[in-house]
Structure formats: C-alpha cells, structure tokens
C-alpha cells in the first residue's frame, strides 16, 4: 500500500484575461503535502499564493491541471460536491472576519460539527477541550467582539480542526497580531497539526512564522520557485530581517 498524500497538485495553471492580455496568476505549480506535515506558502504580494490557496480550497477552479484531496480529483466535482468536500475534508482560518460574530467562541467551533451533522455530546466536549488547550477555557462563551485578535485566531484554529479534516488551510493567520502573539498562535497551530496528523498549509508574508513549519514553498510571479525542506535553511530564512 502506497502512502497517499493528503494533498497533491499536478501542473496547476490559473490564467486571467485582463486588458493588457492574459495573466498567469498561478503558473504550472505541482506540489504535495502529506498528513502530519505543516508547510508554509510564502512569497511577495502578487506572487499568486492566495490564488493558489483558493484553488487548493476548492473555491476556485484552475484553468488546467489537477488538484487531489485525499485522492479525490476536484475537477470531477460539481458545486454541490465541492461544498460538501470543503465542509468535511477542509478546515479554514482566514485573515479577517474569521468568526461568526453572533456566535460565542464555543458555538463558532461547534458550528463545524453542526454543519456536518455531527454535533453530539462527545463533539461538544471535544470543542471545549480544544478551546481549553488553546488557552481559551475561560472564554468559551465570549463573543468574537469581546476577544482580542489573537484569541479570535485561536478560536478559528479550533474551528478548523474540530471536524477532523484531512487538510487545514490558513490564510495569513498572523496578519492582525503582534509578534509575540503571532509566534504563540502559529506554534500552537503547528503543534496541533502534527499531533492530530493533518496536512496543514499556511499562507503568510511573514517569513519569521516559517520557524514552526516543516517545509517552505516560495512562490514568485505565479511559479513555485523554491522549496526549502532543510531545517537549517528554514531557520536561516525565518531569522532573516524582512
């Protein structure tokens, strides 16, 4: 039995028609992420990393190429099946407006179980335990408006993991946090991804956050230009001033 990658892309291309001609936002990107692996997708703005993330998230269809999540080819799925796949197999955290403002911390986490029709007693207990592990045991019934940016991000992390997805996607999870909180959040995130054996991808422009990842994928002008998987190289990248 061959080990199956949680995520695999083959020659993904995304082009846009603009006034000045055809633009390649993502240009021939092939990558794999295994379960239990946490990778960072970095690059300057306009490098195509967010577009790539949208394609991986089954939110955007590539112009050509293949995306497989748990071995399932996304190109064969209609919109309805894509929604189901996102709900069951993918966990998300976003840069801003992550949480539903009218649900408390624990309700936001439970929402993923509710959507998946899996909200039972055990699930409720797990949601509370997960939030407690993220240091939010005292904040279960707080609303997003009553929490700091870092706390909200941690709730989002709990929401992204609670339904045991294969793939966890994080878009700029540290964008609105100060350095100390950013380190804390990403460190906890990385710990949980390793521990729960998920495949994690974090898009970030903050190279310091790469300290906690297993691999760094660097994009430039839509192309995957460099892959760092050596610990020393990653450390060098994350400690450089940027």
């Amino acid at each position: 039995m061959t080990t199956m990658n949680a995520l695999e892309t083959k020659s993904v291309i995304k082009t846009y028609q603009s006034d000045s001609g055809l633009i390649s936002a993502v240009d021939d990107v092939s990558l794999t992420v295994a379960s239990g692996e946490f990778v960072a997708l970095v690059g300057p703005s306009g490098s195509g990393k967010t577009t790539m993330l949208s394609i991986l998230a089954a939110l955007l269809k590539p112009t050509s190429g293949q995306v497989l999540i748990d071995g399932v080819d996304l190109s064969g799925l209609d919109d309805f099946k894509r929604v189901n796949l996102r709900r069951e197999k993918i966990g998300f955290t976003f840069q801003a407006n992550n949480l539903v403002p009218y649900l408390s911390a624990v309700e936001n986490v439970e929402l993923m179980l509710r959507l998946n029709n899996k909200l039972d007693k055990a699930g409720k207990l797990r949601a509370r335990e997960l939030l407690a592990r993220l240091g939010l045991g005292e904040r279960l019934n707080n609303y997003p408006g009553q929490m700091s940016g870092g706390q909200q991000q941690r709730v989002a992390i709990a929401r992204a993991l609670i339904h045991n997805p294969s793939l966890v996607l994080a878009d700029e999870p540290t964008a609105s946090l100060d350095t100390e909180r950013a380190y804390q959040v990403v460190e906890t995130f990385a710990g949980l991804i390793h521990e729960q054996n998920r495949a994690g991808i974090m898009v970030t422009h903050d190279l310091r956050m790469c300290e906690f990842v297993d691999r760094v994928l660097i994009m430039k002008d839509g192309k995957l230009t460099q892959i760092l998987d050596d610990r020393a190289d990653i450390r060098k990248l994350s400690s450089a001033r940027n």
């Binding site: 998230a57 309805f80 929604v83 992550n98 009218y102 309700e107 959507l115």
Partner: protein, 389 residues
C-alpha cells in the same frame, strides 16, 4: 430539514445577538402596520357610514327612475308605479324610500345634530328592525325609529319626544316626533338616520315653495324583496320590462353608486397600498444593507461548507420573524389606540378587512427581502479570502 434547522439556528442567534437593531426594524414595521390598519379601518368606517343602511336592507333590488344613474336623490318615483310594481310576479315585498336631511334639535341650547331623514313604509321592506322598543305603527304616525348612532351622540332615549327643524319654502318648520324604537347602526350618507313613516316623511321633509302645494307624495326609490334570491336577475329584467321609466340596481350596485362612495374607497385603498409599498422598501432596504455589511461573513460561512440553501433559509427565517414580530407589535398598538376613539370618529375594525390587511403586511417582509436573499445567495465563498472571480 437539517439545513433548515441550521439556518433557523443561525437566524435566531443573530437576531438575539443584535436584538436592538432588529427590534428597531420591527418597530418600524409595527408603525407601518398601525398606519395600514387604521387606513383600512377608516375606509371601513367611512364606507360603512355611507352604505350602512343600504347594506343591511332585507331587499335585493333598488328601483330608480329611468336615467337617474342610480343616484337616489336624483330619482323620483310616484305612487302609481308603486302599485304597478307590487303586481310584478316573483316579488314578495316592495317598500317606499324617501330620503332627506333634517336637523335634530338637542335639548338645552342651540345645538343640533345633522341627521338623515328617511321615510319608510311601516311593515314593509326598508323599515329597519328595532333592537329596542317597537316598529312604526301607521303610515302617517308622528313616530320615529332612531339609529343607534343618534343615541350615542345625544342624551335622547326611547319614549322621548324629539324635535326636528326643516326648511319648507322660505320658512323654518319645527316638528315633533315620538321615539318608538331604536335600531342598530343604520347611517345613511355619513349621517345617523331617523326613520319615519313614509307619509309623515312627505309632510315634514324639507320642501321648495313649489312642492308645498303639491299633494301627491313622491318617493325617491323603491326597495324590492324577491321571492327567490337566486332569481334576482330575472326579476330585475321583468321589472324593467313591465314598468315604464324605471331602472333597477342590485344592492351592491346601489352602494357603489352612492355619491362619492367609490372615489372615497379607492382613495383609501390607494393610500393603504402605498403604505404597504413603503413597508416593502423599508424591509428591503434594511436587509439589503445588512447583507452588504455581511459580505465577507457570508463568504466565510459558505467557504467553511454552508450550502447556499442554508444562507437563503436563514435570511427568509429572519425576515419572516422580524415581520411577524413587527405586525404583532403594530396590531397590539392599533388595538390600544382603538380603545380611545370616540364614536364620532368613523373607524370600524372589521374582522375580514383587518385580516386581509394583516396578511398583506405579513407578505411585505418576504417580498421586500427577495432582493437581499438573491444577493446573499450570489455572494461567492471566495470573498472569505478577499478575492472574487
């Protein structure tokens, strides 16, 4: 089912969390409800004041002089035709009706009440049933049956003698009549009505100089009751064939032809319609702004795997709840206000009219929300990442 229950959960949670904001919209809907219900009640009240006597008639047909355009005051029918019409086959009863105005003097100072003075035939169709006292006794008795509205607006009681003032020729004449009966609401031409025997009516009604010496009494219209109500149209044709110079209207047509009646009702209906339209705009505007503010939030919900139907149902449930709460508040307010209105104000809350208005009000929510629901459904989950295709 599962999707609807998730949608209901989200809808209720959001309303509860932002209850101040939602309550404000409910209050606006409540005020619109108050306005719509009052316009409907005013339409009912004014319409009722105009048609009450006619709509409560036991007869099905009203006979007018030909070419009178169904205008009761413009129609003149002499008693010869009255004896002819009695012989038309299929008619069970005919009554004379004469209409005029009079001033009812109230005790004490110079105060008076404007009333409709109606001449009817004792014991025949057209004479209203009393709810207290007795019917009129003879065709020329100095007796009167009072509309309940006269009692409400004066201190007159059963058995009293009332005084009316009319102008005959150039003189003001005073007549006294004994109150023998009181009937339920029987307003005519927006005035409370006095019912007197037909020949008494002919004697005491306002007259021009020429009419004073004219001895043959003339009625305005005849009220006809047919043997079998399902044959109304046949009898109607028969009357117009057999009697010279008459035209007949059904009770409904007679009401529609009352001076100003249709104009008044259509004005009020237009006002009510416009108020409902404003309600649609208010709800539509509010929910559209809500959706515009929630684009990225709805994007996140969709990105993490909420189906479009969940988003749509959540909107529908919210709009429906807000509308129902608003209409309930408005109905309650209307009820409280209605308790404080004096009998002179022509406001009548009729079950059917109110129910129709409430149903229309409940429909404005979903109608107003359609645009925003459509908009919410079209939001792309990509918005969660700040992108759009």
């Amino acid at each position: 089912m599962k999707k609807i229950s998730i949608a209901a959960y989200l809808a209720v949670k959001e309303i509860w969390k932002f209850r101040g904001r939602f309550l404000l919209v409910s209050l606006v809907i409540g005020l619109i409800t108050l306005l719509v219900l009052f316009i409907a009640a005013l339409g009912e009240g004014l319409g009722n004041g105009n048609r009450e006597y006619l709509s409560k008639l036991a007869g099905e047909l009203v006979v007018y002089q030909a070419k009178s355009d169904f205008l009761i005051p413009a129609s003149r029918l002499d008693l010869n035709r009255y004896s002819e019409i009695k012989n038309v086959e299929g008619i069970s009863d005919v009554g004379l009706l004469g209409t005029a105005n009079s001033q009812l003097l109230l005790s004490g100072d110079d105060k008076f009440l404007k009333t409709a003075l109606l001449g009817v035939e004792p014991g025949h169709v057209g004479e209203p049933k009393v709810i207290e006292g007795s019917q009129l006794s003879a065709a020329d008795a100095d007796e009167v049956i009072l509309d309940r509205n006269v009692i409400l607006r004066s201190s007159i009681q059963l058995g009293d003698t009332i005084t009316i003032r009319v102008t005959q020729g150039t003189e003001d004449q005073i007549f006294t009549l004994k109150v023998v009966g009181i009937t339920d609401g029987q307003q005519y031409a927006l005035q409370p009505a006095l019912f007197v025997p037909f020949f008494t009516w002919d004697r005491i009604r306002p007259k021009s100089q020429a009419e004073i010496n004219f001895s043959d009494p003339v009625a305005n219209v005849f009220i006809v009751k047919v043997d079998q109500p399902e044959n109304v149209e046949i009898i109607r044709d028969r009357i117009e064939e057999e009697i010279a110079n008459v035209e007949t209207a059904t009770r409904k047509e007679a009401i529609q032809a009352l001076p100003g009646y249709s104009a008044q009702q259509s004005t009020l209906n237009t006002q009510g319609g416009f108020t409902l339209f404003i309600g649609i705009l208010v709800i539509g505007g509010f929910f559209q702004i809500q959706v515009l503010q929630k684009i990225s939030q709805i994007g996140v919900l969709k990105a993490i795997g909420s189906a479009n139907s969940v988003v749509a149902w959540a909107s529908i449930i919210q709009i429906t709840m807000i509308t129902i709460i608003g209409v309930a508040i408005g109905t309650g307010l209307t009820f409280l206000f209605s308790l404080s209105f004096p009998p002179q104000v022509p406001i009548v809350f009729n079950g059917t009219t109110t129910a129709i208005a409430i149903i229309a009000l409940l429909l404005i929510g979903p109608l107003g929300g359609l645009v925003s629901i459509r908009y919410a459904v079209r939001i792309e989950p990509l918005k969660a990442l700040g992108l759009s295709s």
